[in-house]
C-alpha cells in the first residue's frame, strides 16, 4: 500500500466527502431545476444540453469579461432560453415532452460545441470558495473543506424551494398544475403558462449547474466536460421523490460516488480506475431498479408527469 498522506484509509473517506461536496454541486442545481419542472407536470430530458450550454456560455462570459459571477448569470439565462424553447414546443398540442427533451439535449450540446470552439484554450477566472479547513494541518482535510460558493447557494436554495412549494402562492399553483390539469383549469390557471415557467426556472438552475463545471470544477471548457450529470439528475429526482431537500442528500450521494475513483487514486489504487469512474452510473441503475415496482406507481410523483402515468 503506498502512502496516502498520514491518514491512510481515512484519507479516502475524507477525499470522498470532499469530492461529494465538490462534485455534487451540478447534480444539486440540475436536480432542483428538474424538480421545479416536474412539479409542474413536465419532464425536461434536455437538461444535459442545457448544462453543457450553461458551461460554455458561463465560461465564455468569464473569459471575455473576467467576471465569473457574470458568467454564472449568463449561464442561467442561456439555460432559461433553451428551456423556454422546450416549454413553448410542449405547449403545442400532441407534443411529447420526452421527445422534445431528447432533441433539446442533442441541440444544446451541439450548439455549445459549435459556439464554444474559441474558448477551449483561454483560461477563465474561477469562482471563489470558502476555506473552512484552515484549522487543520492535513492538506487532505484542507482540500476537502474548500467549500465552493455555489454549493452553499445550492443548499440554501434547496431549503428555500422546499419551503416555497408549501408556503408560497407560486408553489401551490405549480403543484396544482403538476398534479391535476383538471383542477388547475377549473381554478382558472393557465396550465401551459405555468408549466412553461416551471421549465424556464428549471432551465435557469440547470444552466447555473453547468457554469459550475466550467468555472469551478473541473474548471475548464472542453467538449468532454459533462459526463451525463444532466441525464442522471432526472433519475436523481425520481429517487429524491420530487423533494428539494432529498435532492440535496441524493446529490451528495451521487457526488460521493463520482469522487470514489479519484479518492482511491490518492491512496494509490489506480487499477480499475475507469470502473470506479462508472460508480455514478451503477448507482443510477441500482437506485432506479430499487425505487421501481411492477405493483405500484411511484409515491410522491406529480400526477401529470408522463413518467408516472
Amino acid at each position: 500500500m503506498t502512502d496516502g498522506g498520514d491518514l491512510g484509509w481515512w484519507g479516502v473517506l475524507i477525499a470522498v466527502m470532499g469530492g461529494a461536496i465538490r462534485v455534487s454541486t451540478p447534480y444539486l442545481f440540475v436536480s432542483l431545476g428538474e424538480t421545479l419542472t416536474e412539479k409542474g407536470g413536465r419532464v425536461n430530458l434536455g437538461l444535459e444540453g442545457i448544462l453543457v450550454m450553461g458551461a460554455m456560455s458561463g465560461y465564455g462570459t468569464a473569459v471575455v469579461t473576467g467576471e465569473p459571477w457574470l458568467g454564472v448569470i449568463v449561464a442561467g439565462c442561456a439555460g432559461s432560453a433553451l428551456a423556454l424553447l422546450h416549454g413553448l414546443i410542449c405547449n403545442l398540442t400532441r407534443v411529447n415532452d420526452i421527445a422534445v427533451g431528447i432533441s433539446l439535449f442533442i441541440f444544446g450540446t451541439g450548439l455549445a460545441f459549435f459556439l464554444g470552439k474559441p474558448f477551449i484554450n483561454p483560461s477563465a477566472p474561477r469562482l471563489p470558495h470558502l476555506e473552512l479547513g484552515a484549522w487543520s494541518s492535513y492538506p487532505q482535510v484542507r482540500s476537502a473543506l474548500e467549500i465552493n460558493a455555489l454549493f452553499i447557494i445550492g443548499v440554501v436554495l434547496a431549503f428555500v424551494l422546499a419551503w416555497g412549494l408549501k408556503n408560497m402562492k407560486w408553489g401551490l399553483i405549480l403543484r396544482t398544475v403538476g398534479d391535476s390539469t383538471e383542477a388547475a383549469t377549473a381554478l382558472g390557471y393557465n396550465v401551459n403558462w405555468v408549466r412553461t415557467m416551471g421549465t424556464v426556472a428549471g432551465g435557469f438552475l440547470s444552466g447555473v449547474g453547468g457554469s459550475f463545471l466550467s468555472l469551478y470544477y473541473p474548471g475548464t471548457w472542453n467538449e468532454g466536460l459533462s459526463s451525463g450529470q444532466g441525464l442522471m439528475a432526472v433519475a436523481l429526482v425520481i429517487f429524491a421523490r420530487w423533494n428539494p431537500i432529498y435532492c440535496f442528500y441524493v446529490s451528495l450521494l451521487f457526488g460521493g460516488a463520482t469522487a470514489l475513483g479519484p479518492a482511491l487514486q490518492t491512496v494509490g489504487i489506480t487499477s480499475n480506475y475507469y470502473l470506479y469512474g462508472a460508480a455514478p452510473y451503477f448507482l443510477t441503475l441500482g437506485l432506479l431498479i430499487y425505487s421501481s415496482s411492477t405493483k405500484h406507481s411511484l409515491a410522491g410523483a406529480p400526477g401529470e408527469v408522463s413518467i408516472s402515468r
Binding site: 396544482t176 383542477a183 382558472g188
Partner: protein, 512 residues
C-alpha cells in the same frame, strides 16, 4: 385576504338564460333553450346523457361560448368569457369528476382558489379563517387531512365547501350523487336544499335520477336532444310527466324476464384473494366468493373500494398478491388459452382503454377473441381479412352498433357504441363465465334496457355472471345475490329476495 360578500346579507344571484344555442360542427348540442334560475331555489336540470345539460351549464360557466343567446345575472346581461369571470359573478360549479388536487390537504385545496392570494401564504391566519368558515357550515371536514385519503362523499363535500368558501352563491352540481351511497346522497342534497330554503344560495343540479328531482328540487327543466322538453314546479308535475318529458314517446324495452335456473354447479370461485393497488396498498383483502351457473352475483359499492383492482385481477391485468381463482374447480391462470377453454368473457369499465385497441377497426376489435382461430385464420398464421370483416358486419348488425362501417376505427365511436362493441364481442361466442363492470355507465335509457336484457339472457342460458357495478339500481334489477364491497372487503351479502336498499347503502358506507 380576499373580500367575500357576506353570506347573510346579499340574496343569491338570479340567473336567466335566453334562447341559448350551441353547435359543435354539424351537431346542435343546445337548441334555443331558455331557463330562469330563480334566486334561492333548488333547480334540477333533468335529461338523459347527451341531452345538452352539461353544454348548457358549461356555456353559463364560460367554458364554452354560446353561438346565440343571452345570459343575465340579476337582470344585467353578461357575456361570460371564462370560468374566472363566472366566479366574479358568484357562479360556481361542482364537477362530476372532482377537481381537487389529490396530493394536497383540505386546507391547501380551499386556499388555492382564493382571489388575491398573497405571494407568501400565512398559514396560521388562513387556518384560523378556514376553521371559522367550517364552523359556519352545515358540514365540516378536518383541514389537515390529505385529499387522497378522503372518501368520495367527503370529496364531494369539500368541492361544495370550496365553492362556498370562494364566495359562490349560485352552485351548479353536475351529477353530484353518482359517486355517493344513497345515504350520503340524501345527506348532501338535504343540506343543499336547507341552504336554498334559508335563501343562502341557489342550486342547479344536473341529474338523470328522477327520485332526486322529486325529493329535493323546487323547479325542474327537462332537456331532450338539446331542446327544451318541459319546465315547471316539481310539485305540479307527476312522475309520469317527468318520464314523458325526458324520453318523449320512445318505448322502453321491458325489463328482462328472469327464468328459474336448472343447473346449479359452482363455476367461478375466488379464494382469499389479495390484490394491491397502484400505490402499493391493499385494495382487495382476503376476498372469497362463489358464483354458480345461471346466477348473477352483483358486487355493489362506491367507486374506489377495490372493485377495479378485483376486475383487473380477474382479467389478468394485475397480479394478485395471494389467493386463487378457480373455474369449474380448476385453477385459472388467466392465459388466453384458459380464457378460451373456460369460456371466460369480460366487459371491464372504460372498455375503450381496457379491452379495445384504439387504432384498430371495429371489425378487428370484434375479432380480438377469435382472430387466431379458423375461420379467421388459415394455414395456422395467415389472417383471413374477409372473414374478419364478415364476422364484424354480422355482429354490428346483430347488436345494432352505430358505426360508419366495419373498417371505421373504434375510437371514432361514441362511448355507448364502444360498450356495445365489446359486449357484442364478449357475448358472441360460447359464454360460460361473464365478468362485467359498470356495463351501462353513461348510456341512454334504451341502451341500458337492452344491455341489461342481454346480460339476463346470458344468465338464463346458464352463464355464470359476476356483475360489478356502482349503480345500485342495476344490481337490484339484475343480481340473484348481492355482495357489498367496502375498502377491499366483502362486508355484506344478501339474497335478492331479502335485499333492502337502506341496509345495503349502510354497508356501502361503513363496516357496521
Amino acid at each position: 385576504m380576499t373580500e367575500k360578500p357576506a353570506m347573510a346579507t346579499l340574496p343569491p344571484p338570479d340567473v336567466t338564460v335566453t334562447d341559448m344555442t350551441k353547435r359543435f360542427g354539424a351537431l346542435v348540442a343546445l337548441d334555443a333553450v331558455s331557463v330562469h334560475f330563480e334566486s334561492g331555489t333548488f333547480h334540477a336540470l333533468l335529461g338523459e346523457n347527451g341531452a345538452g345539460k352539461s353544454t348548457l351549464v358549461k356555456c353559463l360557466m364560460g367554458y364554452y361560448q354560446a353561438d346565440e343567446g343571452d345570459i343575465s345575472v340579476n337582470g344585467v346581461t353578461q357575456h361570460v368569457t371564462n370560468p374566472r369571470h363566472a366566479h366574479h359573478l358568484g357562479l360556481g360549479m361542482v364537477y362530476q369528476h372532482f377537481t381537487l388536487v389529490p396530493s394536497m390537504t383540505v386546507a391547501e385545496n380551499l386556499v388555492l382558489g382564493e382571489e388575491g392570494l398573497s405571494s407568501v401564504i400565512n398559514w396560521k391566519e388562513h387556518l384560523e379563517i378556514l376553521e371559522a368558515f367550517m364552523q359556519s357550515m352545515p358540514f365540516r371536514l378536518d383541514l389537515n387531512r390529505s385529499v387522497s385519503n378522503l372518501a368520495a362523499g367527503e370529496k364531494q363535500k369539500l368541492e361544495i365547501l370550496k365553492q362556498l368558501h370562494l364566495g359562490s352563491r349560485f352552485l351548479i352540481l353536475d351529477e353530484p350523487t353518482s359517486v355517493l351511497t344513497p345515504d350520503e346522497a340524501d345527506q348532501i342534497l338535504g343540506l343543499m336544499r336547507q341552504l336554498t330554503d334559508e335563501n343562502r344560495i341557489s342550486v342547479v343540479m344536473i341529474t338523470h335520477k328522477l327520485r332526486e328531482v322529486e325529493a329535493y328540487a323546487n323547479e325542474v327543466t327537462v332537456l331532450r336532444h338539446g331542446r327544451l322538453a318541459g319546465q315547471g314546479y316539481v310539485k305540479d308535475l307527476t312522475h309520469a310527466d317527468l318520464i314523458r318529458m325526458m324520453i318523449g314517446n320512445e318505448k322502453i324495452s321491458k325489463p328482462a324476464v328472469r327464468t328459474k335456473a336448472s343447473r346449479r354447479e359452482i363455476a367461478l370461485e375466488i379464494r382469499n384473494l389479495v390484490v394491491g393497488n397502484d400505490k402499493g396498498l391493499t385494495a382487495v383483502s382476503d376476498a372469497s366468493l362463489q358464483v354458480k351457473e345461471g346466477e348473477i352475483v352483483g358486487i355493489a359499492g362506491v367507486s374506489g373500494n377495490g372493485q377495479t383492482e378485483l376486475v383487473e385481477a380477474l382479467s389478468g391485468q394485475r397480479d394478485e398478491e395471494s389467493g386463487d381463482i378457480f373455474v369449474r374447480g380448476e385453477k385459472y391462470g388467466k392465459t388466453r388459452s384458459e380464457m378460451r377453454d373456460f369460456g371466460i368473457n369480460m366487459l371491464p369499465e372504460d372498455p375503450l382503454n381496457n379491452s379495445c385497441v384504439r387504432e384498430m377497426s371495429v371489425a378487428e376489435n370484434l375479432a380480438i377473441r377469435i382472430f387466431d382461430q379458423p375461420p379467421t385464420t388459415y394455414a395456422g398464421c395467415l389472417i383471413n381479412r374477409g372473414a374478419v370483416r364478415r364476422h364484424g358486419r354480422d355482429l354490428i348488425e346483430r347488436f345494432r352498433i352505430k358505426t360508419q362501417g366495419p373498417d371505421a376505427r373504434i375510437e371514432t365511436l361514441s362511448g355507448g357504441n364502444v360498450q356495445r362493441t365489446v359486449l357484442a364481442r364478449e357475448l358472441a361466442g360460447d359464454v360460460e363465465v361473464l365478468i362485467v363492470q359498470n356495463p351501462c355507465f353513461g348510456l341512454d335509457l334504451n341502451a341500458v334496457a337492452e344491455i341489461r336484457n342481454r346480460i339476463m339472457e346470458a344468465r338464463n342460458g346458464g352463464a355464470t355472471i359476476l356483475l360489478i357495478s356502482e349503480d345500485l339500481d342495476e344490481i337490484l334489477e339484475l343480481a340473484d345475490r348481492i355482495i357489498v364491497m367496502f375498502e377491499g372487503h366483502f362486508v355484506f351479502e344478501t339474497s335478492r329476495d331479502k335485499a333492502d336498499v337502506h341496509e345495503i347503502g349502510r354497508h356501502m358506507a361503513s363496516h357496521i
